[in-house]
């Protein structure tokens, strides 16, 4: 039947979007609506000596001014550690921290009211260096280390003939979704509150609103407002709680919408970090040992820092077999902007570093970049450094071979490096070709329950699908429709707007929603189909086991009997089904199962570099990705292209510049994201080795392209320039002035692994349980 799984079905919300009629959270209005605004700290670290709201309250048109004293419930929220005040609590710990919120009749009055609030600050020293923060005076009662992880496997002191080490730096990337945060809160008749908001995770918002308002979950209704991109940046609460508090305080609908500048200040960024790696290999390039150390700057509050750090540390091995290693990492609190989830969740940092190391090893040994990767490629059955066996298809070799089959671009370059930034006559242009291969864990990890629930009904061939899965642009609505067409033979499908009237779908993150919510929808569709077939069987006196649905037709023993649309006129069939991945456990647990699954990706980048101006043009990125199954070829390509360009942004231009705790470029004038001129041609191919336990063998695809694009673009620029380039973003001055330290290459005396220390994972330190929301979704973190 047309419109099913495997076809390039168009987005059901597409027509409204191309007409400009789709309602985003920023478009919401309500009768009698007030506008909310936020007063933020101008200091990265300060004690609040007083707050005087009298002048603000006295302004005509101002209906509420709230500070920490006005929060009726628990002042603290957060995705993991609950260490962040809803409104500043005596101390501000980052520039931009909300201090007070107001509701007024219009935006100008609300803004004026925030300016009329008098706040006395006693500035404190801002600790902005994560290394100093790690060992320094606590900036918060919970201390400065969000999480420290440390483990080893095999004999970390084993050596091959060559050993390569270097320190790599990754800058702070902003998700920069194009629609700033927005939401509309309204008091409900039962004394509760309803919020329509652009979010990634409705139930997490609901829970955190409940904490601050003191309301039970059944009095906090969260509905998805239209979302203009997310990329992890909407996983944490920003204005959700404030809008609800203001609506409850005023008894009126309150709309909040951030400016672009506020958006930079308010949401979580990608963790900037420093990674030291030492790889040792034998003369054939086979990895003998890997040692790594990571320091991530988590900023002022925890968000997901305790989870991100294990992703970075454990995946330092890359998609390669590593029997001997030693790994350690910290995510720490500073007075910089808070960091949290962003597409890739700690892995782009690891990937940038390990791929630079592989290239350095290959260069030292005179091997081709892909050859050294093939020689070390993980295979099914191998065991990760953290003890988990790769027990599902592990097509690393296959994605590399798939990449090799893509021809190089031909012809002369169409444009000079630099895009719109090019302002001078250039110098010599050199072409470079680079390669990268990555591993990305898919779905929630380390005991954070990964689940979803779907309600599906069918009547006269029309299916309705309801989940709490946030559509943020990725195209889940299309996938849900395709599944309903394929399984149920539905002729029309409506995917209703997600809300908290159904159980949690978890976050739209971690490349997980096709796997979690898609599978829940698939199960509910199967149950509905069986109910329909039972009814048809009874009506026709047949055995239901003989009935099937194909292309919208009910068949008995393969012969058409009736259509799905006409099979049971006027009757409704309905099912609600749940899906949950098998349990995962914290790093170091005896179960040795941190991750649900993985996606692998190989890319090749071709760049032209103006070596004098330091400008780069990415000509082409070729990609071969392990995708399980192709559910919607056009949407899949959209994920690959979008991820590659976002990764290229981190590699070449995107950096939130933080000076003394202040963001100096919180706008699109100075924070540059790739434009259409910067975007390369993308050639995308796939390996489809079905993921066990998943309908159609599907798996998540959204993050791997970004994870690989960061190292691949850097590798190509290195190839063009011969420079080491150990930091991203690679800035023009890095190229033009040759900044950056090259890896240290030493020829070492081989020292085979001590068999007595063979292949067991030793965690040096008890892993700290991940606390708070994600764990409370049902996890029982392992304790030893």
């Amino acid at each position: 039947m047309s419109g099913g799984v495997g076809e390039s079905v168009r987005r059901p919300d597409g027509p409204a979007k191309v007409r400009g009629e789709f309602c985003y959270a920023g478009d919401l209005t309500a009768e009698g609506m007030l506008i909310g605004a936020t007063l933020r700290s101008p200091h990265p670290h300060a004690r609040i000596t007083r707050i005087d709201t009298r002048a603000a309250r006295a302004l005509p048109g101002v209906l509420a001014v709230l500070t920490a004293d006005d929060v009726p419930g628990d002042l603290h929220f957060g995705l993991t550690l609950r260490d962040e005040p809803v409104l500043a609590d005596g101390v501000v710990r980052y520039a931009g921290e909300p201090v007070a919120v107001v509701a007024a009749v219009d935006a100008a009055t609300a803004r004026r009211a925030t300016q009329a609030i008098e706040v006395g600050y006693e500035p404190l020293p801002a600790v902005t260096d994560p290394e100093l923060a790690r060992d320094g005076t606590p900036l918060h009662p919970d201390g400065n280390v969000y999480r420290h992880v440390s483990y080893g496997c095999g004999d970390p002191d084993a050596r091959g003939v060559v050993t390569v080490e270097n320190t790599y730096r990754i800058g702070m990337q902003d998700p920069a979704f194009l629609a700033p945060e927005a939401g509309l809160a309204q008091p409900t008749a039962d004394g509760g509150v309803q919020l329509e908001v652009a979010t990634q995770w409705l139930h997490s918002d609901q829970k955190q609103i409940g904490w601050a308002t003191g309301l039970p979950p059944e009095k906090v209704h969260v509905q998805l407002g239209g979302v203009g991109g997310a990329f992890g940046g909407r996983e944490d609460v920003t204005l959700q709680v404030h809008a609800c508090l203001l609506a409850l305080a005023t008894g009126r609908p309150v709309k909040m919408e951030y400016t672009r500048e506020e958006s930079f200040l308010a949401h979580r960024q990608r963790h900037p970090g420093t990674i030291w790696l030492r790889h040792s290999a034998d003369a054939d390039g086979k990895l003998i040992s890997v040692e790594g150390r990571v320091l991530l700057d988590g900023g002022a509050y925890a968000s997901t820092s305790p989870v991100v750090i294990t992703n970075t540390v454990t995946l330092l091995q890359g998609p390669y077999r590593v029997d001997n290693g030693r790994f350690e990492g910290w995510s720490v609190r500073t007075n910089n902007p808070s960091c949290g989830a962003m597409r890739g969740f700690g892995v782009p940092q690891a990937a940038f570093a390990h791929e630079a190391q592989l290239d350095a090893l290959a260069a030292a040994l005179g091997l081709e970049p892909l050859e050294i990767r093939l020689r070390n490629a993980l295979q099914r059955g191998d065991v990760a450094t953290y003890g988990q066996r790769f027990d599902a298809p592990t097509p690393v070799r296959e994605v590399i071979e798939g990449l090799q089959a893509i021809p190089l671009p031909e012809g002369i370059p169409r444009k000079a490096p630099g895009g719109v930034g090019r302002s001078a006559e250039g110098g010599e242009i050199r072409r470079g070709i680079g390669y990268a291969v990555t591993i990305k864990n898919l779905a929630f990890s380390e005991g954070h329950v990964d689940e979803s629930t779907a309600e599906v009904s069918l009547c006269d061939g029309h299916a309705t699908v309801h989940t709490a899965c946030a559509e943020v642009g990725q195209g889940f609505v299309t996938v849900a429709e395709q599944v309903a067409r394929t399984v149920l033979g539905a002729s029309t499908v409506e995917v209703t707007q997600p809300d908290t009237l159904i159980a949690s779908a978890g976050s739209t993150s971690a490349s997980r929603q096709t796997m979690a919510s898609g599978t829940a929808v698939h199960r509910a569709c199967l149950a509905v189909r069986d109910r329909l077939l039972d009814r048809v069987a009874r009506a026709h006196g047949l055995d239901a086991a003989e009935l099937t649905v194909a292309d919208g037709v009910v068949c008995a023993a393969g012969k058409p009997l009736t259509t799905v649309a006409e099979a049971a006129p006027g009757q409704i069939f309905r099912a609600t089904e749940h899906f949950q991945h098998p349990d995962t456990y914290a790093l170091g647990s005896p179960e040795a199962r941190m991750y649900v699954g993985y996606g692998f990706s190989a890319q090749r980048a071709v760049v032209d570099v103006d070596v004098e101006l330091g400008l780069v043009s990415v000509v082409q990125v070729a990609s071969c990705q392990d995708v399980g199954a192709v559910i919607n070829p056009t949407q899949l390509l959209g994920q690959i292209e979008g991820g590659i360009v976002q990764g290229m942004g981190l590699a070449l231009m995107e950096a939130v510049v933080v000076r003394d705790g202040l963001i100096t470029n919180p706008d699109f004038q100075d924070y540059l994201i790739p434009t259409i001129v910067d975007a390369p041609e993308v050639v995308s191919t796939y390996v489809t080795d079905p993921q066990p336990g998943m309908p159609h063998g599907w798996k998540g695809v959204g993050e791997p392209p970004l994870c690989t694009a960061v190292p691949v673009v850097a590798a190509a620029v290195r190839a063009a320039t011969g420079l080491p380039l150990p930091s991203v973003p690679i800035k023009p001055e890095h190229i033009a002035l040759g900044l950056g330290t090259a890896p240290t290459v030493s020829w070492t005396t081989p020292r085979p692994a001590d068999p007595a220390r063979a292949a067991q994972v030793v965690v040096d330190e008890e892993p700290r349980d991940a606390l708070g929301t994600m764990a409370e979704e049902g996890a029982a973190p392992a304790r030893h």
């Binding site: 979007k17 007409r19 400009g20 985003y24 895009g419 959209g638 979008g642 259409i676 993308v682």
Partner: protein, 191 residues
Amino acid sequence: MSDQDEFVTFSLTVDGTPREVTARWSESLLTVLRDRLGVRGPKTGCAHGRCGACAVRADLGDGDPHVLCSCLVPAATAAGGSVQTIASIGGPDGELSDVQEAFLAEGAVQCGICTAGFVTAATELLETNPEPTRTEIEEALYGNLCRCTGYGRIVAAVETAARTRREQKSPVPLTTRELAASLRTGPEEAR
């Protein structure tokens, strides 16, 4: 109260309908459209002229309508002028225009917050240049940011729309009549 806060009243034609507006001097055309007139097709991505989500086609009184960032235009300078938002773009009988159709077919829409701006800019491009090269497409659209698609599908959509238009070779009204009427007649249109 500063001058910026003083109110002015003026008239403006929006999507063919004459409207009366009272707004602060300092307000942008985008704010007037969205917050005062409830015209929500143009979107706010940055409010400082760097993303194109707010793009509209406007005649600011000089008889030369073109696509601009409505967040950068002080609303009062549009007094007496005429603005065509995404709501003015469409095919005959309420169908989608060929550009809109191509955006859907090629997967150029994900979250869609940039889409109205891209469709507006691409529509103008194809009216002035029915056979744009890839470089010309980039030149016409580099003021529009998209964070989701990586632009590949957007380029494909514009190329597809141009190709379909050439293949149909008929001067069908590709936008509303009103929009078509505002076109300068060039050799392509005269064909």
